[in-house]
């Protein structure tokens, strides 16, 4: 198989296999209701995974996405409750993007390790989220807020359209623009890219900033449907986004992977969670399942890439 998307095709086949098995095991899997469920469950992870993919392509990682989502929602929610809905939305986006830039700045310009920086940011943002409302949730959000989680066009939820549009835009950006080219170059060989004239620090920072922005979009959709903003919003989502990107074939050492793969990876994780639930397996097993899939897909990736060379 000489296709550029060899790894992604393999993961797609694995994904379809999993769906097949689940369909056989439980008739509820393919029901209309469940499919709607799947698309909802994939949304938050999916949108953030786009950013995570860009970051992993640069050989970085972002552990703080859950925290950024939480603090953005909480601050924005407070603004929303005390002023207007539009101002609240702007606050959410500004906060998310700010923390994204902060990560990016510390990693790019101060040259600190991504793992360490984003671990720190995760901690800080999560704790700030609790401080800001003294641990309580925000309720009584303006009625208009529900729009993002519920609006449908031709019976297709707006959030699904947003999810797919963002993936398409992201894919075009990766394959057809300077930004995309440089992200791949930086992940593959950062010093060679720098010596070739690429503003490495700037583009790395942009990847983290975009991710922060995407966290804010995702959290708007998420909390809009829930109708409340809890301090533990987005908790643990970093693991799912990283899993989605890795399962989709991106290499942790950077320079290899695609959003096509990440899209497949997102649905892989979502179906996994969903399927285990439907079969009736205790939720405590979810972690084992996700973890095992990550390890297996990284192994598969190593084997496939070795044969390619």
């Amino acid at each position: 198989m000489k296709s550029e998307y060899r790894v992604e095709i393999m993961m797609l086949i694995a994904f379809l296999l999993m769906c097949l098995i689940l369909t056989i095991l439980t008739p509820r899997f393919l029901s209309v209701g469940n499919i709607r469920n799947l698309f909802w469950q994939a949304t938050t992870v999916g949108i953030i995974a786009i950013g995570q993919c860009l970051i992993i392509l640069t050989a970085g990682i972002d552990l703080s996405v859950g925290g950024i989502a939480a603090i953005s929602a909480m601050l924005g929610g407070l603004v929303m409750l005390n002023t207007t809905l539009p101002l609240g939305l702007i606050m959410i986006v500004l906060t998310g993007t700010f923390f994204g830039f902060l990560n990016g700045f510390l990693i790019s310009y101060a040259r600190l390790a991504p793992f360490i920086v984003t671990l720190g940011t995760l901690s800080i943002t999560q704790s700030l989220t609790y401080i800001v409302t003294d641990g309580s949730s925000l309720i009584g959000l303006p009625a208009g807020y529900k729009f993002f989680g519920s609006f449908k066009i031709l019976n297709i939820p707006l959030y699904t359209i947003i999810l797919i549009s963002l993936f398409v835009i992201g894919h075009i950006m990766l394959k057809r623009t300077k930004l995309g080219r440089f992200i791949y170059a930086i992940g593959s060989n950062e010093e060679a890219a720098r010596l070739a004239g690429v503003s490495v620090r700037f583009y790395k920072m942009i990847a983290y900033a975009i991710t922060g922005f995407l966290c804010s979009i995702a959290v708007i959709i998420l909390t809009s449907r829930l109708g409340a903003i809890d301090p533990d919003t987005g908790s643990g989502i970093e693991l799912d986004t990283i899993a989605a990107v890795v399962i989709g074939g991106s290499s942790m050492s950077g320079g290899k992977g695609s959003l096509v793969g990440t899209f497949i990876g997102v649905f892989f994780i979502t179906v996994l969670h969903n399927g285990l639930n439907l079969i009736g397996i205790s939720p405590f097993w979810q972690g084992t399942a996700v973890g095992s899939v990550i390890i297996i897909s990284v192994l598969l990736d190593r084997v496939l890439r070795r044969n390619q060379a």
């Binding site: 791949y184 170059a185 593959s188 060989n189 010093e191 060679a192 890219a193 010596l195 320079g255 290899k256």
Partner: protein, 503 residues
């Protein structure tokens, strides 16, 4: 004359690639035998088969009259054959003594901890046996040693194994001229002790200085063998390449270059400089910077391009000040640089040829979107102009030979049509056929008006291409020559001993 090695009908293939075809040669005991050929000719492969690194696909090897087939280097070493590869197998944080005796059970057997005193005593004995004094002590850490010193340790390791046949694979690629001389003394000392040496190389001047006999490989086949005394460079090149390359010194057309100054360096200082650097480079001129490894040539080039920021002074590229400004600035004003380490910095190995060629042009352009058809057209044009042998623009650069990889790096820069091109060791590790092609390209560029800042450790290269030659020593430019006045001897003199007033 006894043969220590006899190879009959040795063939080796890796996957679908045939690296060696039906090789039958002998190695005489006690001689210094050179295996030469271009990259990919098979010389290294045969050496590795003899040392147990690879196993032949077919054919037999006789060592001291008995048929052998070593499964690994340990078996070969135990039998008396050892090899020093280009990548050293030394552990940086351990000492010389520890590295030499790492695999030696006797040093560790009787106690829980290593017997340091014994190891160091034995190491001194090995140093003495080598006959050369590198001024090292067994407790020094490998990471503190220079490349030449590490190589010496690798060779001394072989003494610990009582080797009768020692194979050196491209031993001089990372050494300066002075260090090469030390290595040659060491090889002669080995010969004096009755050890047979096989020397794999593509550097002709060294072959002539060192070897007794030469075997030439080309495309995996045995071509011919010559007694060193009876042969000459021209004959050897012809055998290696299979065609006549013409005279190196006739490559440079020496057209008149203009008065236009495209690179103006004034009172520039950096971490290495003693006296500040001041010089100008004109459109169509080639200035060659020669000197020993560590003289500061690469550091100067990097200071001019903006990779490392210099301390004081000025750098003007096409009239614009780029002093202490990022690389992007130098590029946008028309300067390009091919770095010293091609694989690490010159190209992105895992990415496609197309993406590599278009990278700098993309970084230099203001457009956000890539134009795929324009990109492909430009890349195809450059591949043709530079005669780069590729199968597809979409294959990774890692699939190309060293010479073609370097051409891809060059293509990347020619894509932005630079006025000043800095070349740092442009033909290092490239075989002679490709070298000549690159020389032609360099001359062509200069004739069409590109100014070239050439850093090279190969004197014939500097002499053949440069219009002016600057000799550097310990961070200073100590001598400037017009090409007609320079000779290998006087350049060597100023690289090592002489100093005159700096410009």
């Amino acid at each position: 004359m006894i043969n220590i090695i006899e190879c009959t009908h040795i063939s080796k293939s890796f996957g679908g690639v045939q690296a060696l075809k039906d090789i039958t040669i002998d190695v005489h005991q006690g001689e210094i035998l050179a295996l030469i050929g271009e990259n990919g000719a098979g010389k290294s492969t045969l050496a590795k088969i003899l040392a147990g690194v690879h196993q032949a696909s077919s054919g037999t090897v006789f060592y001291k009259g008995k048929e052998v087939s070593f499964k690994n280097t340990q078996e070969a070493r135990a039998a008396g054959i050892s090899i020093v590869l280009q990548e050293f197998s030394l552990i940086p944080h351990l000492s010389i003594a520890e590295n030499i005796f790492l695999a030696n059970d006797a040093m560790y057997k009787s106690r829980f901890w290593q017997n340091r005193q014994l190891m160091e005593k034995e190491t001194w004995k090995l140093f003495e046996k080598s006959g050369i004094d590198f001024n090292l002590s067994p407790d020094m850490k490998i990471s503190d040693l220079s490349v030449a010193e590490q190589q010496y340790v690798e060779i001394v390791k072989s003494f610990a194994w009582d080797s009768e046949l020692m194979i050196l694979d491209e031993p001089t690629s990372a050494l300066s001229k002075g260090e090469v001389d030390e290595l040659f003394k060491l090889v002669h000392s080995l010969k004096d002790q009755g050890i047979t040496v096989i020397f794999v190389s593509h550097k002709l001047d060294e072959i002539f200085e060192l070897s007794d006999r030469i075997v030439v490989f080309r495309d995996g086949e045995y071509i011919t063998e010559l007694m060193t005394q009876e042969s000459n460079e021209k004959e050897l090149i012809a055998a290696m390449v299979g065609r006549d390359l013409g005279n190196l010194y006739h490559i440079r057309q020496r057209k008149e270059f203009s008065d236009d100054v495209v690179l103006d360096v004034n009172a520039l200082t950096n971490g290495m400089s003693g006296n500040p650097y001041t010089f100008s480079l004109h459109r169509g001129e080639i200035i060659g910077f020669s000197g020993l490894v560590g003289a500061g040539r690469t550091e100067l080039a990097r200071a001019v391009f903006g990779v490392d920021y210099p301390k004081e002074g000025s750098v003007m590229i096409c009239g614009e000040n780029t002093f202490r400004k990022p690389i992007k600035c130098a590029i946008s004003h028309g300067c390009a640089m091919l770095p010293e380490d091609r694989k690490l910095h010159g190209v992105i190995l895992d990415q496609s040829i197309l993406h590599n060629i278009s990278l700098s042009a993309l970084a230099n352009s203001k457009e956000f979107f890539v134009n795929p058809s324009k990109e492909q057209r430009e890349a195809e044009g450059l591949v043709e102009d530079l005669s780069i042998k590729i199968e597809s623009l979409y294959h990774p650069v890692s699939s190309l030979s060293g010479g073609n990889q370097q051409k891809v790096a060059l293509a990347k820069w020619l894509n932005i049509k630079p006025d000043v091109l800095i070349l740092d060791e442009p033909t290092r590790g490239i075989d002679i056929g490709a070298k000549f092609e690159i020389y032609q390209l360099i001359d062509d560029l200069a004739s069409k008006g590109t100014a070239i800042f050439l850093v090279s450790s190969e004197l014939p290269e500097i002499l053949a291409l440069s219009d002016r030659i600057f000799v550097m020593q310990h961070g200073d430019i100590v001598k400037e020559y017009h090409h007609s006045e320079a000779t290998e001897n006087n350049i060597m003199y100023y690289s090592t001993l002489g100093r005159t007033e700096a410009q």
